[in-house]
Symmetry: C2
Subunit: 79 residues, 2 copies
C-alpha cells in the first residue's frame, strides 16, 4: 500500500526556507507571489494491513515534529 | 490562488534521507515498511491570473532540480 504523508509547518511558525524561496522567485522576475511555505512529502510503501493508528504513530513519533508541524495522511492505493 | 508543488526524486535516484527514515522506523519497531522516499512540498500563494506556464517556469528554474527530481503542480482554489 502506498501512503503519502504531507508535513507542513503550522500557521504562524516562521519559515526561513520559504522566505528564501520567495525572495529567489522575486529575484528571478516572478511577480505576484504572495507567500511561500516549504514542507516535506514522505512517500511510504507499507504492508497492506497497516492501520491508520500505526501510520499516525509513525507521524507523531518520527515523521513530523508535532510542536511546529502538521501532517496529513493520504492513502493512494490498496493493492 | 493557492498552489501546491509536489517535488519528488525520480525513480532510481538514491535517497539517503529516505533510507535514514526507513531505518529509524524499523528501529522504532514499525514493521512492514518496504520503502521510504522523502520529497518536498511547496505551497505558494500566487496572484489569481498566474498561468500554468509561469508555474512550470518557477518549478524548472528554481523549485525542482530537473536532473534528479520530478514535480507535480496542484491548484487548490481560485478565489
Amino acid at each position: 500500500m502506498k501512503v503519502r504523508i504531507h508535513v507542513s509547518l503550522k500557521p504562524g511558525v516562521l519559515d526561513p526556507q520559504g522566505r528564501a524561496v520567495h525572495h529567489s522567485l522575486e529575484g528571478l522576475g516572478f511577480t505576484g507571489v504572495e507567500d511561500v511555505r516549504v514542507g516535506r512529502l514522505i512517500e511510504l510503501e507499507v504492508a497492506d494491513g497497516t492501520s491508520d493508528e500505526t501510520l499516525d504513530d509513525m507521524c507523531r513519533k518520527l515523521l513530523a515534529n508535532m510542536v511546529i508541524e502538521n501532517y496529513r495522511i493520504e492513502k493512494l492505493e490498496t493493492a
